[in-house]
Assembly symmetry: C3
Homo-oligomer: 144 residues x 3
């Protein structure tokens, strides 16, 4: 049984989902493990990890739009009441809440030499801030 | 330290929560590990995993109803505007979003030979599509 | 490769986020692992785990308020319709749903002797019941 770690840098173009399944699979493949456990950790409070369908770009648009309505920048109230914490911009506080709803972490089994992702499952970084950011995802693999 | 993997097939009857705690515990018990880490992975983009109270069926009804309101099929807008991605039916896109909100994965410690579930915690598959499906959950156990 | 487990008791003062990053880090440090994987499990169905910014108390207030609106006690309907499962009080059913949305578990890599938390990431217990509770979080660490 052994372990390996890695850091992936992911550049985002502002709000939305950026797939990085290939980079993850390439690193896992290079570790040559037959059975194991991969953990991804997004080291930020305004970007998160998500697994969703990677076949249709429309799905990603609908997801982004759904989060605008679930956690609106104007708090969804008549008159557009602000969050208390608003000094970092109107997109900051919703980004913390959206991160809470999707989460900073994923743990995926490695079975028969490959990640146990389903046919349509892709791994995405979900950027919640309006401006582009450089995000860091820590990878940890344990197995044999 | 050793590892074991397994695949559970879970048949759903359309939208709602299906408990499968017993099948998980039975498999974990059969591996005879004193201390370890169990990971469950739901290999789908329109069904997810959930941990919630398993004592009252009413709780499960209220949860299902809450998700209909949180992520409505008609997007919750006046006039019932559609999602962009709607060719697979009105329940498809909400199912991806509901899956994002609950997640494809759970990792549970094994302590003193049993899963660290609390008294009222059950493990459920949360089906988000309207029609019945056969879902697959990958189990990975590591420990000794 | 070795494992260690621990149980942390966290007292809450009713609804809201209680940070316990320090207690987690102290225990992890005491295990002296260079590389590993930490899992936290919240053994309850009406309290959950969350990672968010730990610099501003205002952020925590806005998060708590956002969850009151996302999953309202009166179900957000005109006339304040009740949940079916209401015999344990109006805060009980929303607490199960809020727990589903945030989750009972976190798994964090240990890299170069410390948790891979980002600069602003703190680990919180998110209490969803109105009254104070004593909550239990199981810690499991595996590594070397």
């Amino acid at each position: 049984m052994r372990q390996a770690t890695h850091r992936l840098a992911i550049s985002t173009r502002g709000k939305g989902l950026t797939e990085f399944t290939r980079a993850v699979c390439a690193w896992v493949d290079a570790q040559s493990m037959e059975t194991g456990l991969l953990t991804l950790w997004c080291a930020h409070t305004s970007a998160s990890l998500a697994v969703t369908e990677n076949a249709s770009p429309e799905v990603l648009e609908d997801i982004a739009e759904a989060f605008e309505r679930l956690v609106p920048e104007d708090r969804g109230q008549a008159g557009g009441q602000r969050y208390i914490h608003s000094l970092e911009g109107p997109d900051d506080m919703p980004s913390h809440i959206r991160t809470l709803l999707t989460g900073p972490q994923l743990t995926v089994p490695v079975v028969e030499g490959r990640l146990a992702l389903g046919t349509w499952q892709g791994i995405f970084l979900f950027e919640h801030r309006s401006r582009p950011h450089r995000r860091e995802v820590v990878l940890h693999l344990m197995g044999e």
